[in-house]
Symmetry: C2
Subunit: 172 residues, 2 copies
């Protein structure tokens, strides 16, 4: 799929066919994610690839906006490893760029995906605690976002978000 | 250009030909940026399109890592409008996803671009003050990143950042 078309036509997909995603495709998604730029090339991202059915089914019990996980063949938890950063303030941007790459790659490969936010919720929020315990994250590894992925069983309508009011020339 | 290829082969480009970028191309870049997902679709992004030569030339005086601005035909300052957010904590992720879309689109269109970070530097940092004054940003509009864009006058080598050590299956 053409790059501009992939960017323009990507939508959040929350319903999936009952069809597994093979490891080669998963590797392509993660390779796309890791191709993102990062501050001083620190590559602060880590990826938990969740294919275990019971683990995916349990996610909605602590993350109400990730109900689709129970019907997805694949979930990817994007985390920032904040333990040894060169540019500490920038890990959120590094990981967000990686997540966006992953979403575009999924769409280009004929998959559907949706980004559900975790960080910067309160560390005591049940989503943060839930993902941390569920995936046995070490201290300092922070869950940024959970992305559910599958072969799409819905086709959200096209949407043109272009808004000229958000463009300013030279000055605000 | 194919979407996966664009994602994989995009690199930071800091040297540009002396060639203007027409408005149609600028609109394609911004349309790609605004196609990003955002928390509760809040679209917290705003874009300052800088083509004024004197303004671009002055950027390195307050932003030492944006020296290439003085040789770029175009700069885009991506800002978050934090004044009326539905999901306040998520504007950095919204704007980072938009910035990444912009970088991929630039590469796919035969341009070169580089992301230089601003947020979350100290509000008293000269880069934050510099961009805020330079572009006359209202209070509550926060500069996240400055992206310089141009027709590439350098070809950074391909880089494969895929690192299997960053992949964890089900649990860390």
């Amino acid at each position: 799929m053409d790059a501009l078309e992939a960017i323009q036509t990507r939508r959040s997909v929350r319903k999936y066919e009952k069809k597994e995603i093979n490891d080669e495709i998963v590797e392509k998604l993660l390779s796309a994610a890791m191709s993102a730029p990062s501050a001083v090339n620190q590559q602060s991202w880590e990826f938990i690839v969740i294919k275990d059915r019971e683990m995916l089914d349990a996610i909605p019990t602590f993350s109400p906006f990730a109900r689709m996980a129970a019907h997805a063949p694949l979930g990817i938890l994007i985390c920032g490893d904040t333990r040894n950063l060169i540019a500490p303030g920038f890990w959120v941007q590094d990981c967000s760029a990686a997540t966006q790459n992953l979403l575009i790659a999924a769409h280009a490969l004929g998959l559907g995906a949706v980004w559900t936010g975790v960080y910067p919720m309160d560390p005591m929020d049940r989503r943060v605690i839930g993902f941390t315990k569920h995936c046995q994250l070490p201290e300092g590894v922070v869950p940024l976002a959970f992305v559910a992925v599958g072969y799409p069983a819905e086709t959200p309508p096209k949407q043109n978000r272009f808004d000229p009011r958000r463009i300013h020339t030279n000055v605000w």
